[in-house]
């Protein structure tokens, strides 16, 4: 072809078409790369402490905050008119576009907003003073300002002394006190409440069963009253202890001031973290970064889920996915075994197979509808009537909950498992089965010792892929039991320990909730990115495990058997 003697038929090479196709593929690849980069980058930088800026605006006001992001935008026409002529010219040069930065100004209790856009043309100058601190609080979001004084019991420190080691030690102590108060209020008083509620329900149950005139009821009543007295005493003791701790706690405060000098006295125990953002070295920054990640992974959410951690959501996702896998594995495998090994292959079975295949493509929300209507409202209401009459009309199982969510997702993923298992079973050579049968093994023995082990990698892959799908589904869960804030974890120290009827939190729903339902979606956005990163990591990990197990088991069984 290099000679050029033969006609170079460029048309036959179809280069433009090749570039069209290659372009499509590269666009797809770029989109994926961009998406992954966006999530990973935003997820990773969220917790990194950013420097604080004090911005002096041209109108003479000042603001302090953490620059979160910047963008180019087109200012509305009436805004343009308020500018000076040279600024207008400059903007016209840039195509009518202006640049602006979003500052997280915090101090919601003062300003009623968390964020503020500042356009470049508004700015006179900015600086980064070293004494500015970023304070994360239990309530009202962050505070940006300076530390005026630190009150530790009877001593009051000001100036440099208020920062530094003393502050950290005092804050750590306050955090321990807060944890102790919380343990009393949530844990120990919660236990008392739990026992009271249980005793009330027992009484009601007896009343429903034996009637209020019976001896059994009177007996139960007396027992209940005795127990109530005992619990009341314990409650009073704990409440007193908590009150004492709280009054002790109130003596440790910090006085903060915002950029305009407005002061705020804050109890030390209400401070999660405090750091001078502009005076940190790399090592300290990494410390803050790590401690924020740890809080995210190990704490409960605060501030309508936009701050704090996602432990309950991680936990809920995990337990639900596990329960789903427990439900889906035996049934999926059984159905596939039936279809492939037991049913007579014919038109009917292939029709059923098409149906099952299709069910994998039925929208997940349809399963959610079924789960709500059938599991929660019919099965659950029936369970309530038979086993929990004393709690009615409050539903126990008759509403969305962990069990129904898991079963709904199991139903959603069972076609995936059936299809995967069937494919794995079909891939086991017929000769193996025939060999086993010829040796005199029964059909079940053949399946158990020959077919299933051989098909196991495929089955495991299907199962793990189903778990990956289940872990990422949100739509059906919105109908069958996921909530934005679950008061209790589905597992706790009270019998029967695993509470299948409770509603739960879920990482996917957390993303939806924080991104769309919260007071300020801007404040929640960094959190959403981190949660997204976590969820995607989980799903990718599950997928990768599927691939890993598939490869490993394949090798093992190839060697081990033949």
């Amino acid at each position: 072809m290099t000679g050029g003697r033969r006609a170079v038929n460029l048309e036959a090479r179809g280069e433009p078409f090749l570039w069209g196709m290659g372009g499509a593929l590269s666009l797809g690849v770029l989109m994926i790369l961009g998406f992954v980069l966006l999530i990973v980058w935003n997820g990773l930088i969220t917790f990194y402490p950013k420097p604080l800026r004090v911005v002096h605006l041209k109108d003479g006001t000042r603001l302090a905050g953490e620059p979160t992001r910047a963008e180019t935008y087109k200012p509305p026409a009436q805004r343009l008119e308020s500018l000076s002529p040279e600024e207008r010219d400059r903007m016209r040069e840039r195509g009518g576009l202006a640049h602006r930065t979003l500052y997280r100004i915090g101090n919601y209790d003062f300003y009623n907003e968390d964020f503020r856009w500042v356009s470049d043309y508004q700015v006179e100058r900015w600086e980064a003073p070293r004494e500015m601190v970023f304070v994360e609080r239990v309530e009202w979001g962050p505070f940006v300002g300076v530390v005026q004084a630190l009150t530790l019991g009877d001593t009051t420190l000001t100036g440099e002394a208020a920062l530094g080691e003393r502050l950290h030690a005092a804050q750590a102590q306050a955090a321990r006190r807060r944890a102790r108060i919380r343990r009393i209020e949530r844990g120990e008083i919660g236990a008392i409440n739990h026992r009271m509620e249980k005793s009330r329900l027992t009484l009601r149950g007896v009343a429903l069963k034996a009637g209020e005139d019976s001896a059994a009821y009177r007996q139960a009543l007396a027992r209940g009253e005795a127990q109530a007295a005992e619990l009341d005493a314990a409650y009073a003791r704990l409440a007193a202890e908590a009150a004492a701790l709280k009054s002790e706690d109130a003596r440790y405060t910090i006085t903060l001031a915002d950029i305009n000098g407005r002061e705020k006295v804050q109890a030390l125990s209400e401070i999660v973290r405090i750091y001078p953002a502009n005076a940190l070295n790399l090592f300290q920054r990494m410390g803050v970064y790590a401690s924020r990640w740890w809080e995210f992974l190990s704490a409960e959410p605060r501030e309508a889920n936009t701050e704090g951690g996602v432990l309950p959501a991680i936990f809920g996702t995990f337990v639900m996915t596990l329960l789903m896998a427990l439900a889906v594995a035996p049934f999926g495998v059984m159905a596939a075994l039936y279809l492939r090994e037991y049913a007579r292959q014919g038109r009917l079975v292939s029709a059923v197979r098409i149906c099952v295949n299709n069910l994998a493509g039925v929208p997940s929300i349809v399963y959610g509808v079924f789960g709500l209507g059938f599991f929660a409202y019919i099965v659950g209401a029936g369970i309530d009537r038979i086993f929990y009459p004393e709690r009615l009309p409050n539903p126990t199982f008759g509403t969305g909950g962990l069990l129904w969510a898991s079963l709904t997702l199991a139903l959603l993923t069972v076609p995936v498992v059936i299809v995967a298992t069937e494919e794995a079973l079909a891939a086991v050579p017929q000769s193996l089965r025939e060999g086993s049968l010829a040796c005199g093994a029964s059909k079940w023995q053949t399946i158990k010792y020959i077919v299933l082990p051989k098909a196991l990698p495929g089955i495991m892959t299907g199962l793990i892929l189903a778990m990956a799908r289940g872990a990422g589904e949100v739509a059906p869960l919105m109908l069958v039991g996921v909530v934005k804030l679950a008061p209790e974890l589905p597992i706790d120290a009270y019998f029967p320990f695993l509470h299948l009827e409770r509603s739960f939190m879920h990482l996917g729903f957390h993303i939806f909730d924080v991104g769309f339902q919260s007071r300020n979606s801007e404040a929640g956005k960094p959190m959403v990115f981190v949660t997204t990163l976590l969820l995607i990591t989980l799903v990718v990990l599950l997928n990768a495990t599927a691939i890993f197990i598939r490869n490993r088991l394949k090798r093992k069984y190839y060697v081990g058997h033949f």
Binding site: R6, L18, G23, I354, N358, A441, L535
Partner: protein, 888 residues
């Protein structure tokens, strides 16, 4: 199946049995059994049963979803069922009846006669509880009116006075210990103490219902000599400060509006009533008044003549009331037989002696010729039984109403769905009927005859407002200018009617799917072909699993990114995004023609990963260029403000038409070239060197591009001159969360699916076909186009279908990024509301077994059916493809 911890596991006996048996001899002391062990057989049988039963059960359970959805939705389409029929006679004949009432729980009823006799009786048994007499004074009652809930009555007298009355059922819930003793049972679980009725209700409680009626002192509202001929009455305000509006027509056809405002002094308890009388403009001609009706807000008054003329007063401005319209609601010679508002007093029901029964709306439209721009418009007619309808009782809950026709048949219909809810032939003569009342919960209807006979039917209609037509066809709702498809499931007001048309939702689902497929299919299919046919094996080993991994990306993540990251970016850079649709293909084509300039040996050496990298680079360059050129493009095409252009504020239609026409023109130009100018390329057979030919191709392409642009510009201006404009159709008002964003995000969700399945199909094309084609001298491109693609076409098609099925049912992306506005338009810059999103958002709030609940189940069923059909088609096509591919 795990229930066989078989001892059989330890032995696998049949496997080693034969050698042992063959050995025989002394070693085999104990004689080997040749039969299988019983445990093995048992395990086998158990496994057999368990797997068969379990397997079938699982499959049945999964398929049972469909059955369950169907059973949940079927009640929507059921008509009413009679649950009870009672007939009894009240001890005293009713005579001229003023009123009849029934409480919410169908326990108590009362009948008031013109002479003031009030009989309160148990509705189910007819047993008289109390009987009394209201002192109506000496003047005879000549007119009566009541509010729609029949709690407030007004009686007009021959002496021109009016008396207001308050009739109320009072309900209290009692616990068993509060129940009075010595009750007389009434049957049906009810009992009475001679005054109130006590019914047992769930939760071990009792409900006590009592009735009381209080008559106020007469108020003079007109001339003492003029009897009031007809009245209408509405009341508003609280008990302490009530405003009552009364419209009267007296014997001389004079129409007046009377407002009485009562204030109770909180200190003294004294009640002061002020009466304000407004004389309305006179009627154009003397009439034989049939009825008067006031709307609930007292802003419209209707006076009906027996001949079917309706005079409408507009009372919005009470200082200047106007007679706004005289409309005929009956054909000539027909007489009006019934006339009243439905709940909400915006639909007027009229019936005539010719058997007509029709519903009128008061609408405001620009083309009406009336004084106030409003007019009564006939919205729908009902098929009556042929005889005239005479009595009419509206429901308190919805748009249902009950009627009695000429043969004495009692019917209950729904005003919007036109569903017949009940049909009871009473067998009683029409002339005897005096009053008709519909139970407040639309589950019973009671009629009273002059001789005291009462018929009381109980029935049960779970969902009166839904029929197939209201769900899937155009419905004219009150307050709307014309029939349409509307989804609006809830609102703040009580008399609000839920509008549940599934059409906008189905449309929304398909709109989202359509635009996302428009984006996803080219990228996924072209990418799949390129991966399977042209890409280096190593690269493919990376790209394919990555794509597969993306398929399991949670859609909530995509929805979040689309709504909170992509939507604002697209909004800011909308011009650049539009430009990218032109710029990207142009850049790639340019890349291709420049690549052709490379000497062949170099091109061959670089054709693997470097070429792909170049493609990536050109895509990136194109993206950068469009971003940079975006503002300029916006200035040039859309007067610098795309959103203003979309709203029609600036600019003409041509620029966007030009963009739309570009691909069509490009196609046309290349076809024209193939047809007529093919010789231009092939003539110098073998004469030219590679480089000049490539340069020639480049020139030709530039020429073609220029031609395309010119053609498109010309056509666009021509079309624009002819009045075509994409605004209002494909494009229109811009909202931030729009279909374009959904298209991107959902496209992103389905690309991996389509890509993977299509790539598998292309890969399944047997290698020997490719080898043969290449061996014949075809290029890779020719092989791909003429051999591989046609063979794999059905597989690729099924990939598209499966992607489509996923897009139709995708939930989180549309919930988050689509704006959720249930409208029917193709505007890509507007939002949409999909079936799936509606279910996800509204089902958690829907009352169990309510209409919305069941309609949402139906939405789920529709979604199920749609995706099931799409997937089945895809699956059948795919199986056929597989069979063919293995045969090749």
């Amino acid at each position: 199946m795990k229930d066989t911890p078989s001892p059989a596991t330890s032995q696998l006996p049949p496997a080693d049995a034969p050698p042992a048996a063959a050995a025989g001899g002394p070693a085999a002391r104990r004689p080997r059994e040749k039969r299988a062990r019983r445990t093995v057989l048992l395990a086998d049988r158990i496994a057999d049963r368990v797997i068969t039963v379990g397997g079938i059960l699982v499959i049945v359970a999964v398929l049972g979803i469909l059955v369950f959805l169907v059973t949940e939705t079927l009640p929507l389409f059921r008509s009413g069922q009679m649950t009870g029929e009672r007939r009894y006679t009240l001890p005293e004949p009713a005579g001229q009846t003023l009123g009849l009432g029934l409480d919410e729980y169908k326990t108590l009823a009362y009948a008031l006669s013109a002479d003031g006799r009030l009989q309160v009786f148990h509705a189910r048994s007819g047993r008289l509880l109390t009987s009394g007499r209201l002192d109506l004074g000496s003047a005879p009652v000549t007119a009566q009116a009541h509010t729609i809930d029949r709690t407030q009555w007004a009686f007009g007298f021959a002496d021109g006075t009016v008396r207001f009355a308050d009739a109320r059922f009072e309900t209290t819930i009692l616990s068993p210990q509060d129940l009075p003793t010595g009750l007389t049972p009434l049957g049906d679980g009810d009992a009475t103490d001679g005054h109130a009725v006590f019914s047992a209700i769930p939760g071990d409680q009792y409900r006590q219902v009592t009735f009381r009626m209080e008559l106020e002192a007469p108020v003079a509202v007109g001339d003492a000599q003029r009897a009031i001929a007809a009245m209408a009455y509405t009341a508003s305000g609280q008990a302490e400060r009530s405003v009552r509006t009364l419209a009267t027509v007296d014997g001389d056809d004079r129409v007046a509006l009377i407002q009485t405002a009562s204030r109770t002094n909180l200190m003294t308890g004294e009640r002061r009533t002020t009466v304000n009388r407004i004389q309305l403009p006179p009627l154009p001609a003397p009439i034989e008044v049939f009825g008067v009706r006031l709307t609930a807000k007292a802003d419209t008054l209707l006076v009906a003549d027996r001949s079917g003329a309706v005079f409408r007063y507009n009372l919005t401005d009470l200082q200047h009331p106007v007679l706004a319209e005289s409309a005929r609601v009956m054909p000539p010679r027909a007489r009006l037989t019934a006339f009243d508002f439905l709940l909400g007093s915006r639909s007027l029901l009229v019936a005539g002696s010719n058997g007509a029964l029709a519903l009128y709306f008061l609408l405001e439209r620009n083309d009406f010729r009336t004084v106030d721009g409003q007019s009564l418009v006939q919205a729908r007619t009902f098929t009556a039984g042929g005889t005239a309808v005479h009595f009419f009782a509206p429901s308190l809950r919805d748009k249902s109403f009950a009627t009695i026709d000429g043969t004495g048949r009692l019917e209950v219909r729904h005003g919007t769905s036109r569903k017949q809810l009940a049909d009871f032939p009473t067998g009683l003569p029409l002339e005897g009927f005096r009053e008709l009342v519909l139970a407040p919960r639309v589950d019973g209807v009671m009629a009273l005859q002059a001789d005291g006979r009462v018929v009381f039917y109980e029935f049960d209609v779970p969902h009166p407002e839904t029929t197939f037509a209201t769900l899937f066809q155009k419905v004219w709702y009150e307050g709307y200018a014309e029939p349409g498809y509307t989804w609006q499931s809830s609102a703040a007001t009580d008399d609000y009617e839920a509008k549940l048309s599934l059409v906008p939702l189905i449309f929304g689902s398909f709109k989202a799917a359509f635009y996302s497929m428009l984006f996803a299919v080219p990228i996924a299919i072209l990418g799949a072909v390129y991966t399977s046919e042209f890409v280096h094996r190593r690269l493919r080993g990376v790209i394919k699993p990555t794509m597969e991994m993306m398929a399991s990306l949670p859609s909530v993540v995509l929805g979040f990114v689309a709504a909170l990251v992509l939507a604002p970016v697209v909004e800011t850079w909308i011009a650049a995004v539009l430009l990218a649709f032109v710029g990207l293909p142009l850049a790639l084509m340019l890349g291709a023609y420049l690549w052709q300039l490379l000497p062949l040996h170099l091109a061959n050496r670089l054709k693997g990963i470097p070429k792909f990298a170049l493609m990536l680079l050109s895509v990136l360059l194109a993206a950068w260029a469009t971003r940079a050129l975006g503002p300029f493009f916006e200035e040039l095409f859309f007067h610098g403000d795309f959103r203003a252009w979309l709203n029609g504020d600036v600019g003409g239609a041509a620029p966007f038409l030009f963009l739309l026409l570009l691909p069509l023109c490009a196609l046309a130009v290349s076809i024209l070239q193939q047809r007529f100018l093919a010789g231009l390329r092939q003539r110098p057979a073998g004469g030219l060197e590679a480089l000049p030919r490539a340069l020639g191709e480049l020139g030709l392409w530039l020429l073609r591009a220029a031609l395309t642009f010119l053609l498109a510009a010309g056509l666009a201006h021509l079309l624009a001159a002819l009045g075509a404009d994409a605004r209002g159709g494909l494009v229109g008002t811009y909202v931030q969360r729009n279909t374009l964003v959904v298209g991107f995000a959902m496209g992103f969700a389905v690309i991996p699916i389509i890509y993977t399945i299509a790539e598998d199909a292309l890969n399944a094309v047997p290698e020997h076909l490719r080898a043969a084609s290449l061996g014949c001298g075809a290029t890779l491109w020719q092989t791909a186009l003429y051999v591989v693609l046609p063979t794999a076409a059905s597989g690729v098609f099924s990939a598209v279908m499966i992607g489509m099925g996923r897009a139709v049912g995708e939930t989180m992306i549309v919930v988050m990024a689509a704006g959720n506005t249930p409208i029917l338009d193709w505007n890509i810059f507007n939002g949409l509301r999909a079936l799936s999103a509606t279910i996800a958002v509204e089902l958690p709030e829907a009352v169990k077994d309510g209409t919305l609940y069941r309609v949402l189940f139906l939405a789920g069923l529709v979604l199920f059916a749609m995706t099931f059909v799409i997937n089945t088609v895809a699956e059948i096509v795919r199986q056929r493809f597989r069979r063919r591919a293995t045969q090749l």
